[in-house]
Amino acid sequence: MMKGPELDKMWITMGPQHPFSHGLWTLRVQVDGEIVVDAEPEIGYLHRGWEKECENRIYPKIIPMADRLCYSASMTWSHLYCKVVEEALDVELPDRARYLRVVADEICRIQSHLMWLAAVGTDLGNLTVFLWCLREREFFLDLNVRLCGQRLTTNYPRIGGVRNDMPYYFERDCMRAVERFEKALWEIIAITDESSLFVNRMKGTGILTREQVANLGITGPAMRGTGVDFDIRRDDPYAAYGEIDFEVPVLKDGDSYSRFRVRIEEMFQSCEIIRQAMAKLETIPKTHPYRIKVPRAVPEGTHVTRIEDPRGEGLMYLVSDGTDKPYRLKVRSPVFVNVSAAKPLVMGARVADIPAVMAMIDMCLGETDR
């Protein structure tokens, strides 16, 4: 029998100018009616050659560039860059800098997660979640402004410490924002997690097993929602995370809903971390150093370090050749790997599920394409 063209299936190109793709990328899906039977992500629209650009710049000039890797997690990226150079220089950070970095990182994590939750709201068709989340995010951006003078591209960490100490009354503002946020987050939970329509959209979609997740290299909350109990902050501590007591939420269901719940709990834990770090910062005298002087040139060698980005594992691999410019700087972006797993994530889902499933990856194309 002759087999004609598969007319019952069609390819749909979603992106790069599609409302669900938060950024410039394309997801080509093949659908049979409303069921997805094949998918293929395409990226590269934003490829700037970031790693190559860095080979042309002296070390301090790369910090503002690292901010631009991801618009909402700029703090962790510049922190990661500073960390890898510090490991290359073999310097030890002063206590004050370590705790300040923890505070800055967690503020960044909360606002990045809020940006994610806002995007989930729009992907599922509820604009109220979007605006409420952005309203809460504004308080953390205000903290960013107070701390480092800019809302998104913070340029705060420096090689050997941080740019400046806390401004006056920062502890007070920070505590107020955190306390206010914890109350407001329950309100947001009331219209997301307590709404059965919202939960039904996420439950049972995008299911992956623990083995699949480990093999595909998915990291971050998407991994912890699938039962892998791994958080670099706890298991490979950096900055001052080793001295802070916090929980790593892990759920075993492996669907979008558990990823959602993991991220919500992570926001509460970040509040707790900020609280503890602030309490600790009060015990360190204000005159103590927050930034130490480092040499301009980095000794020869290769260095690798990683950090827990809001989206997963961020890793930088630095090859230095003894000059004041890096020989090679490799960025391992969590979203780059997570989006490569788009096919197993959306297979078998409906077209309406694609935004809900891919929203849990929390796309950020700046760091994906680099």
Binding site: F20, E34, T122, L124, G125, V129, R201, A352
Partner: protein, 387 residues
């Protein structure tokens, strides 16, 4: 009729003396329409009569039937205009209330931001008329016109009070429902004609949505009609005034009807046909510029009709309990429509979009049994002699 003065042709008769006068009471817009035709038609008849004296056309032009027909059409245009203004107000209300619910301010142009919709309408007018090259041309344009046209038509059918209405057939309600249910078919056609996968999916979704929501809606309509004992809108409203608002005995029916009405007018929790997160703009994707503006307007017309139906069926229409028809029953009716529309906005602000299989589940497994339960309650009440 011989050659005579103009005043013999333009008589300005009392409209109530018209043999076809459809109303029981004096109707101002009808009167205005009738007088306008007497002026225009009388002038025309006089002129024709000057040229060709004694022709039958001139006499027909000022006959009762023509005057009545013109007055009814005039009334329909007036009702459309009212519906148009109500639509603008509803858009404004939606923006403002949605703004407050989302902690925003809503529109700010003009007094309380009312002129924003006018500005938006002007903007869509200015836009370039873009249409895909590979479209199915006839269906593309006809489906668009019919979607908008049917929406406008039902909006004109909605009576504003016992004295401001166009149709008074005993099956007026059925007519509205019938045209209401036509639109998804045109949407399916429009989705096909655009030669776009998103709009095709959107069109199919609209059709799917229709079959799962029409049936509970019609069962609910049947229970209301059963309770009132008539398909006539006026009778239903009067029956509610005589006993009580039907929201009280048929509370389940009210809730189910609101859900169905939201789905029927394709508003947010059930706007699958134009789910912007996955289908860009669904079946409206390739309708750009003013076409989209008109579709939007048609959507709001459908929302307006859905609200009006809820008000008529469950909230006592233009009557107030204990008072009856006030001096301006139209205003009472419109205020009730705005109140019902508030529920629509509220649902939009707090609920996410439902998936297509879930919507079928809700439609067939929840709303359908609930509407049957509602019907049973009505039957019990009716048999028990309460109504």
């Amino acid at each position: 009729m011989g050659y005579s003065g103009l005043l013999e042709w333009v008589k300005f008769n009392n409209p109530m003396d018209n043999a076809y006068y459809p109303y029981d009471v004096y109707n101002l817009p009808y009167d205005a329409g009738a007088k306008l035709w007497e002026l225009l038609g009388g002038l025309l008849g006089w002129l024709i009569n000057l040229l060709v004296p004694g022709n039958r056309l001139s006499t027909w032009l000022i006959s009762d039937a023509v005057v009545n027909a013109f007055a009814i059409i005039f009334l329909a245009v007036i009702l459309f205009a009212v519906g148009f203004v109500v639509n603008l107000t509803m858009i404004w209300e939606e923006r403002k209330v949605l703004g407050r619910m989302m902690d925003r301010r809503g529109t700010k142009i003009g007094p309380l931001g009312y002129f924003q919709c006018l500005g938006d309408g002007l903007k869509t007018f200015m836009k370039e008329n873009v249409a895909p090259a590979d479209k199915d041309k006839k269906i593309y344009w006809w489906a668009l016109s019919l979607v908008i046209g049917s929406s406008v038509l039902i909006a004109c059918m909605v009576p504003l009070s016992h004295r401001w209405f166009v149709v008074d057939y005993s099956t007026g309600l059925l007519l509205i429902f019938g045209i209401f249910a036509l639109a998804p078919f045109f949407i399916l056609c429009a989705g096909w004609a655009q030669n776009n996968k998103y709009s095709l999916l959107g069109g199919i979704r609209a059709a799917t949505l229709m079959i799962s929501y029409e049936i509970p809606m019609l069962i609910l309509l049947a229970s209301v009609v059963l309770m009132a004992g008539s398909f006539n809108i006026n009778d239903i409203v009067n029956a509610q005034f005589d006993t009580m608002w039907y929201i009280v005995p048929q509370f389940i029916g009210f809730i189910v009807f609101v859900v169905c009405a939201i789905a029927e007018s394709e508003r947010v929790p059930f706007d699958l046909a134009e789910a912007e997160a996955e289908l860009v703009e669904g079946w409206q994707t390739e309708y750009a510029g003013m076409k989209w503006g008109l579709i939007m307007l048609g959507d709001y017309f459908r929302g307006y009709t859905a609200c009006a139906l809820i008000v008529i069926l469950y909230l006592g229409g233009w009557m107030l309990p204990g008072i009856g028809a006030t001096a301006v029953p139209e205003l009472v009716f419109l205020l009730k429509i705005f109140a019902v529309f508030f529920i629509f906005i509220w649902a939009r602000a707090s609920l996410p979009r439902v998936r297509i299989d879930q919507i079928l589940n809700i439609g067939w497994k929840r709303l359908m049994p609930l509407s049957v339960v509602n019907l049973c309650i009505v039957l019990l009440l009716k048999m028990g002699g309460v109504f």
